[in-house]
């Protein structure tokens, strides 16, 4: 049995098939339980896949080596995000002034707050580097974490939790500040809650959704451009 497994793991085919199967089964299970808004469907699929790997006794490193072939597609998929960005150029032009001020501050503060709190609680540098891109959409965040020297797995977990709590907090804070403008709520969901927040924004309405994807893509770009540079600052000063 274990020899057969080793034989199958010699090529990436088994890892790719397991990932695809868990993706579709997870999606089906997610709809079966009524598609709760706070739970990203990817979390269900990932739990299923982790369970299957544990039951079959497949080492995560072995799985990851095969599944790396799938993640190779993240490169062209990140480039593809340029298409929705171009399609939202009208929105960007109409609001360029507040966006120009708010986006760099929001994107940097999202990273700064998390890294600051973890640093105050004495977390090691590897954890700080994994938490920094927590508000960035996953394909871009993977590139950032690898550059900063963090753990991609921990970053992914942080990304999921951030997206889920961002949905609740945006609702709470918007009510507290008496903000009802769907453009602002969508933007806050996209900037702080990346893809998970954007999915939630599309449930509120198309305007909120468009502004969420706008916030998500611009936060991703700005963080990818600014964070690696900001990361080198303490090293240069100290």
């Amino acid at each position: 049995m274990s020899e057969l497994l080793d034989h199958l793991l010699a090529t990436p085919l088994l890892a790719i098939a397991l990932t695809l199967a868990a993706y579709f089964a997870g999606g089906r299970l997610f709809r079966l339980v009524g598609a709760p808004a706070w739970c990203p469907p990817i979390l269900v699929a990932a739990l299923l896949l982790a369970g299957v790997l544990a039951v079959l006794g497949i080492d995560y490193a072995d799985y990851r080596e095969g599944a790396g072939w799938l993640m190779l597609l993240l490169g062209p998929a990140t480039v593809a995000l340029g298409l929705p960005l171009y399609q939202q150029m009208g929105h960007i032009r109409a609001m360029w002034r507040p966006l120009l001020v708010c986006l760099p501050i929001s994107a940097l503060m999202a990273a700064f707050y998390a890294v600051g709190i973890a640093w105050l609680l004495n977390a090691p540098p590897e954890i700080l580097a994994s938490l920094a891109p927590k508000s960035v959409t996953a394909p871009i965040a993977i590139g950032i974490t690898e550059q900063l020297g963090g753990s991609v797995s921990l970053m992914m977990g942080g990304l999921l939790l951030t997206g889920v709590v961002a949905i609740g907090f945006v609702d709470l804070v918007a009510r507290w500040l008496k903000i009802r403008d769907p453009r602002l709520i969508g933007l806050a969901l996209g900037i702080n809650g990346h893809a998970i927040g954007t999915v939630r924004a599309f449930e509120i309405g198309p305007t909120a959704g468009a502004f969420a994807s706008l916030g998500m893509s611009l936060t991703g770009i700005l963080t990818a451009l600014l964070l690696p540079l900001a990361w080198q600052l303490p090293g240069l000063v100290g």
């Binding site: 593809a80 340029g82 929001s106 590139g143 797995s153 992914m156």
Partner: protein, 119 residues
């Protein structure tokens, strides 16, 4: 065939981004530079070719599947994070509350009256 032609376009922009990042020594991933190059290219052209749309839309649709191998990893590192839980949770939950507040407060200030009229 449109999908493959579009995919070749995406790969071209990705490789171009990689070349630029390497030559300029930029600490930015090749994908992000490729994305900006694609946006700039579409703005110059003023229209989206059917080939690029045919490849880009399905790829964006399966993004969640492409990041799954990374998400699964979190269940396998839980043991190695012992002792860091408080710092990680406080950073994620507290940091997100603060950053959501910053965004909404800042945008309300910047948009002024306009945001109150738009309901």
């Amino acid at each position: 065939m449109a999908v493959l032609r579009g995919f070749l376009w995406l790969l071209g922009f990705l490789l171009l981004g990689d070349i630029l990042a390497t030559l300029a020594g930029l600490p930015v991933s090749a994908g992000v530079i490729g994305m900006l190059l694609l946006t700039a290219w579409l703005m110059i052209r003023g229209t989206v070719s059917a080939d690029i749309a045919a490849a880009a839309q399905p790829l964006i649709g399966v993004l969640a599947m492409l990041i799954m191998p990374g998400v699964v990893g979190v269940f396998f590192i839980l043991g190695t994070l012992a002792g860091q839980w408080l710092a990680i949770l406080a950073a994620l939950v507290g940091g997100t509350l603060l950053s959501v507040f910053t965004t909404l407060w800042l945008m309300r200030r910047l948009m002024g009256k306009e945001s109150l009229d738009h309901e």
